[in-house]
Structures are given as structure tokens and as C-alpha cells.
Symmetry: C2
Subunit: 136 residues, 2 copies
DNA sequence: AAGTAATCTACTAAGCCGATAGGATAATGG
DNA sequence: CCATTATCCTATCGGCTTAGTAGATTACTT
């Protein structure tokens, strides 16, 4: 199950992508519109900013704005930042690989085999969807 | 990420499926072979028994055994029992559907759209794999 | 009856999740 | 240059879940 952080993050990105112009939008506006706790959303937007998806402007007329074209924002990258590994098992992950300490032989592990298949497929979907694809 | 419960559960089922005969196997044997805490595994096997996957026999010569042919055991069902919903969002789930209280309009929710696509694909994979498929 | 092994209940330590509070910092407008 | 605005950052919290423990009980076999 997706964490609320990820869900809210995707919603906020979508909200920004759907605006015609790319002028800064205040946290409060997004929070109000998407029914998200302001302070919680604040930490999410901060994370997205530090990860290079958003820009921020302080002071009057400030807020957050998309830094890249929604077409260039891969949902796989968004997912990894917000939620973490796409794989369901560390031993089936590319970016976050970790050996299971309970596994004698990875090659015969049925769980790994199945979860690798799931991972490959999920990754394909997330990579083939940009923010623009899901927003419009 | 998969919980250890699910991972251990799949490993235990695999262990049982790989045995030639279908005689009862003690918890301790599975735990030793798969490097799982006995007591934790105990609760998992109990769950699988109460869910109709395993049978149990008490006393000497007792243990757990598969109740059905591994070919007939769908990994989607196993997953749902051990891990819960396959969908990443409650609003994208068939068996555990729940409306998001932060969503005004489900049909325009980008997160839901994306996660539904992921769900459909994951489900297809889990349903097309039986315990026999992944064990051998 | 003795011994074996599953069953069941209850508990705990640790960690994470979602949310909140408060102040620091920076940019803008007048 | 001062007040306003809004992001930035740290710290904290209750509640829930996860992984694992302990101990008593029940049922089956020989």
C-alpha cells in the first residue's frame, strides 16, 4: 500500500502540472484544494524541491512551481523519491539491492523469482508514464 | 515493500511444495531450513491453515502439510491473505475498495489512474502464477 | 499414560507514519 | 528599512504495525 506521503506528493505535482501558467503556488492553496494537512504537505513539497522536481520562491507572491516540463518527469523517479524502492523485496531491487540474510541461495528463492517479475512490470509502467500522462 | 510475514509465508509454502511426499512437516524443520524464527513462523503457518491452504496434525509425526495441489494455489490469493490488498491505493482495489476522503472526484485523480494500471498488471502476474509455477 | 507437537493468548520492544508546533530565514512591497 | 509573506528547518508526538517472545493448553501417537 502506498503511503499518504506518496499519494499527496503525486496529487500536488498533478495540481501544479494542471495550471496553465507556471507561477508559484502557495502550499496552503494546494493543501486546501486537495484536502491535505498543510504542515504535512509542506514537508513533502520540501522533499520534492530538494530532489529537483520543484522550485520555490519565498516572500510575497511566493510558492512552489514545477522546474521541468511535466512530460519530462518520470513517475518512476517520483515514486522512488516519495515511496522508496519499486521492488517488493530488497533482493529484487536494482537501485536498492540488498541480500537477504535468511536466503542460502538466491537463485532458487521462489519469492524472489515472483517478486522480480512483478517489479519488472511495475517499473515498466511507472517509467512509461510521465506526470503529463497522468495529469491530463 | 513486502512484509517478512509474506516473504516467510511464501518460502514456507514453497518448502512444503518441494517435498516429494505430502507428509506433515514440523514448524521447527521449516524454520531451521529457511532461517526463520520458530515462533514467528508458527503464527504465519497458523494463518495459512485457517485460510485453507494448509492442514495440521498434532502430536508425534505431526506438522503442517499442503491441503491442495500446488498447481491450484494462486499466488494472488496467497498474497491477499498474507500481505493484504494487491492495489496500492484503497480506491484502486477490487476486494478492499474504499473511497478516499480527500478526493473530490475519483475520475480525475491522477494517482488513482496510475495505481489502477499498476494494480491490473500486478494482479495479472500474481493470478497467472501458481505455487507450482514458482516452486519448480 | 507419556511424550510430542500444534494451538492459542498475551505481551513487548522497536520503528514508522501522519500530523503538529514553533521559530529561523529569505524575499518582496511600500 | 521595516513589515509582511511564505518557505525552511528542527523537534516532537500519539498511534499503529512489525517482528519476535513466553507460557500454558490441547490433541494426537505409541
Amino acid at each position: 500500500m502506498l503511503s499518504k506521503k506518496t499519494k499527496y506528493g503525486i496529487k500536488a505535482l498533478t495540481y501544479l502540472a494542471r495550471r496553465e501558467n507556471n507561477e508559484p503556488v502557495q502550499i496552503a492553496e494546494i493543501a486546501r484544494s486537495e484536502h491535505i494537512s498543510i504542515k504535512f504537505l509542506e514537508s513533502i513539497l520540501l522533499l520534492l524541491r530538494n530532489s529537483g522536481f520543484l522550485g520555490a520562491k519565498k516572500g510575497k507572491g511566493g510558492g512552489y512551481y514545477l522546474i521541468k516540463d511535466p512530460k519530462e518527469i518520470s513517475m518512476a523517479k517520483v515514486y522512488r523519491i516519495l515511496e522508496g524502492p519499486i521492488a517488493l523485496l530488497p533482493c529484487a531491487s536494482h537501485n536498492f539491492y540488498e541480500k537477504c540474510d535468511d536466503c542460502d541461495d538466491e537463485s532458487t528463492c521462489a519469492a524472489r523469482r515472483l517478486m522480480t517479475e512483478v517489479r519488472d512490470n511495475t517499473l515498466k509502467i511507472l517509467e512509461s508514464n510521465s506526470l503529463a500522462d497522468i495529469a491530463f
